[in-house]
Amino acid sequence: MDSKEILNSGLIELYVLGALTDAEAQAIEKAAALDPAVANEIAASQAALNVYSKTVDRNPRPAMRDKILQQIPEAKNQIKTVAMVKDNAWQSYKYLMAACLAALVISTYSSYFFYDKWSEAEDRYLTMQQEKNVMADQFSIVKNDFDKAMNDLLVIKDGDMSMFTLTAIDTSKNYNARVYMDKRMGRLYIDVLSLPMPEPGKQYQLWAMVNGAPIDAGVFDIDPTNTYLQALKTIPNAAGFAVTLEQQGGSATPTLEQLYIKS
């Protein structure tokens, strides 16, 4: 059936009246797609029928409007969608803010925590530094003492060393000292065991007896904190020793009245 036949067949009218079977209706639609004349005829017939159908217009009860519109799903409303996008933006902004705040709190706490740890470590470090300094000082003192003691020991242990014990002239006093003498060269050391502290401006002086005559062997001090051997002058061939109390710096000849101890 060509377009012209269709136009006059009454099928277009039956089509718009909805009286055709599906297959027949599809044939008409196909013809309309191919021939504008058929399409126009359909449109004109539909328009007429549309007007005719208005004769049956009937307003539904007013309540029907809300009842029916309530049934329409709220979903894909574009305005809503925009609002939701805004919501999402605000939502993610909120999460971002929360994350920032959380990070701030954590970092503040960490800063405080680590500052605390750091100052604690700094304190401990300073303490240890001080302790180390004290130890170093003490070590240096001990080392000094040890060196002196070692030196004394070397003198005492020396096989070429002679020892003279000097005792008090006044037997009521318990003054005494020892003099170590190097037999080869005559180097002299005194080990003050017990002598009274001299009055200011005075110094003890050791005298070496060489060929019956006293020879100045040097002056020495009494220091309760330094009880090591004190090296004095080198005088070979001394036969004995005596200690007198003299002027500061010593005298050329011994003041016999002030003779304290002798060997």
């Binding site: 006059n8 067949s9 009454g10 099928l11 277009i12 009218e13 039956l14 718009v16 009246l17 909805g18 009286a19 055709l20 079977t21 639609e29 309309a32 797609a33 359909i42 449109a43 004109a44 017939s45 539909q46 328009a47 007429a48 029928l49 549309n50 007007v51 005719y52 159908s53 208005k54 004769t55 049956v56 217009d57 009937r58 307003n59 539904p60 009860r61 007013p62 029907m64 409007r65 009842k67 029916i68 519109l69 049934q71 329409i72 799903p73 709220e74 979903a75 894909k76 409303n77 574009q78 305005i79």
Partner: protein, 202 residues
């Protein structure tokens, strides 16, 4: 403007809004975008036409209201199956309403008595209904329809609102099938001549 009650005022505003012309293209766009305003405009513009068609077929307000509801839901959900190439939105919607109403009439749940209504009663119903539902828009159309020959009117009524097939119509009217075709064509041509002027804003 005097508004005696809120309801009157609102309904007046709504009626005025309904009068505001919106192009079919704009309405189709709104509906295809699933904009709620689309279905609201659709209701305000076409509920009377759709409900009228449904009521015409069913003849019972309670059931017709159910079908009207189904009709709007179907339009909302199936709008994407509407093809503007094949005809106007109004025609498509009217067919949705018509088919739902006819299905309802033919369903088992529908009263058998109503299903086998006499054609004369069916046709008379149109006139009675128009008398009850005074609609200024349709006065002119109604007057024009009065000029339509009864044999054309009956045929359009049973085919379009009754959902009869050609064969059923031929059987019901006691005329040959070929006559159903030629008379249908003549009836529509007559309507077209009658509505020539109305057609522009139909």
């Amino acid at each position: 403007m005097l508004c005696y009650s809120k309801f009157n005022c609102f309904s007046l505003v709504r009626k005025m809004a309904a009068k505001l012309k919106i192009s079919e293209e704009a309405l189709i766009k709104l509906l295809k975008e699933q904009q709620r305003s689309g279905i609201e405009l659709l209701y305000d513009h076409y509920s009377a036409a759709l409900y009228g068609t449904i009521f015409k077929i069913i003849g019972n307000d309670e059931l017709a209201e159910d079908v009207l509801q189904d009709c709007f839901l179907k339009i909302w959900h199936n709008i994407n199956s509407y093809d503007p190439q094949k005809g106007r939105l109004y025609t498509w919607m009217l067919n949705v309403a018509r088919n739902l109403a006819i299905d309802k009439v033919r369903s088992k749940s529908f009263n058998n008595q109503q299903k086998n209504r006499d054609i004369d009663l069916f046709v008379n119903q149109l006139d009675n209904m128009n008398a009850v539902n005074f609609n200024p828009d349709t006065i002119g159309i109604k007057q024009l329809v009065q000029k339509l020959e009864p044999e054309y009117k009956v045929l359009i009524e049973i085919l379009f609102f009754g959902g009869y097939s050609q064969t059923e119509a031929a059987e019901k009217l006691g005329i040959p099938l070929g006559t159903v075709k030629t008379r249908s064509r003549a009836a529509i041509m007559r309507l077209r001549t009658l509505f020539e002027r109305e057609d522009h804003h139909g």
